[in-house]
């Protein structure tokens, strides 16, 4: 008896889907919190449908055939979604390996007596599905990378807030390393805010900067110069003792810059230069 594997798989489409779904649902680590049985069914049907209807005697031997573009597109979509939803690589991989398992199970059931054909068909399906698995991993990783890139952008933004501490006084707590990209964001935000609020003093607080090397120092000096060009004064606060000693040994000259040990002392200095006074209210006790 002559077998036509693509035809066979098309005829048995329903069985493949059922086998595959059973495989997925019996998977120990099934993430019922992330995906519903309904979604699994829908994704599985779509993929099997696209795969078997595009499969023929020629392309079953050719993993690079353009006929599978549709399959790859569906598969990529599923892995990207799963990456974003927080599935692990194992969970995502189990999805496509489950399909391979189902296809091989079916071949075994259907081609029992012809071992030679079964062997050939198994090899072909293996090669095809392995190639699909690679696509799954590639897109899964791409999906995770997108998540990381987005988070990096978010961190850059949220980590450089400009705070209006007082009328005319801005404060910028800097946390983490002040690299060139961060400096650009800090400087833009600061200058923008100086214009908008008409502030005359900006305090750059570096309590959260782990190390001040010559690069960071240069960025700080640039930011101070830019602030001065806008007609405002810039104070650097939060210089911890170990940072002060390191700066001195490194040989960085910050003598042209107003520096303070703490944000509180920078604020006090700002009040003085704005001729503001913070006083304790005298409570006069009534004499009975």
């Amino acid at each position: 008896m002559e077998y036509n594997i693509p035809k066979l798989l098309q005829k048995k489409k329903k069985n493949i889907i059922e086998l595959w779904i059973t495989n997925q649902l019996s998977e120990a680590g099934l993430r019922e919190d992330l995906i519903s049985n309904e979604e699994i069914r829908q994704q599985s049907e779509e993929l099997v449908d696209s795969f078997v209807s595009n499969l023929n005697q020629e392309n079953i031997e050719d993993v690079n055939s353009g006929d599978f573009d549709g399959v790859i597109e569906i598969l990529s979509g599923i892995s990207i979604t799963r990456a974003r939803q927080g599935f692990s690589p194992r969970e995502t991989g189990a999805f496509i390996f489950g399909l391979k398992e189902a296809l091989l199970q079916l071949l075994q059931q259907e081609i029992k007596e012809d071992k030679e054909t079964l062997y050939q068909a198994t090899l072909q399906i293996n090669r095809l599905l392995d190639s699909f698995s690679i696509v799954t991993f590639e897109t899964f990783i791409k999906g995770r990378e997108e998540v990381i890139l987005r988070q990096t952008d978010e961190i850059t933004e949220i980590s450089t807030p400009v705070i209006r501490v007082w009328d005319g006084i801005l404060a910028l707590p800097i946390i983490g390393t002040l690299d060139s990209a961060r400096t650009q964001v800090v400087m833009e935000n600061l200058l923008q805010e100086i214009v908008e609020t008409g502030s005359s003093i900006a305090i750059l607080d570096i309590s959260g900067v782990p190390a001040v090397d010559s690069l960071v120092a240069q960025h700080l000096i640039k930011t101070v110069s830019a602030t001065r060009l806008m007609g405002a004064e810039c104070i650097i606060s939060g210089i911890r003792p170990e940072i002060a000693q390191t700066i001195v040994h490194l040989g960085i000259d910050l003598s042209n810059i107003i520096t303070k040990a703490t944000l509180a002392s920078a604020l006090k200095f700002s009040f003085q230069s704005l001729k503001l006074e913070v006083k304790k209210v005298q409570v006069v006790k009534a004499v009975v």
Binding site: A211, V212, D213, S214, A217, P241, I243, L250, I252
Partner: protein
Amino acid sequence: MTTWTMIITLSKDVMRIVADQDVVPFRNRVKECAVKIKMGLVNQTKLITAASELGRNMLKYASGGETLIEIVTRGRDNGVRLTFKDKGPGIADLSLAMKDGYSTGKSLGLGLPGAKRLVNEFDIKSEPGKGTTVVVIKWANG
């Protein structure tokens, strides 16, 4: 009387610096080693600042290179030894490069002389056209 004691390596770690993003993880690794040998906060900060300077030089002038992070011991002293090895253009005049304020990169020119002041032992070798190797040691109580 001078006592000569051998430096023994207790742990060894290789890290490559080929992009800006590599500097912070490298610095964190150096810090971990410094913490492990109970180096004080001031010396820790000096060491990671020197590490940052030398790592960035490698990036800027030699488009990257390899670092070796070692915990070493000599007699009763424990320390961190860092080796920066690149295959960049090298430095023709070392004594000039070690001068405060000398820079071919329109920078402050403090990296090399500053790093030398921040550590206990500093050794630089360079061959034009071949590359540059800098080795520094910071002792925990140095």
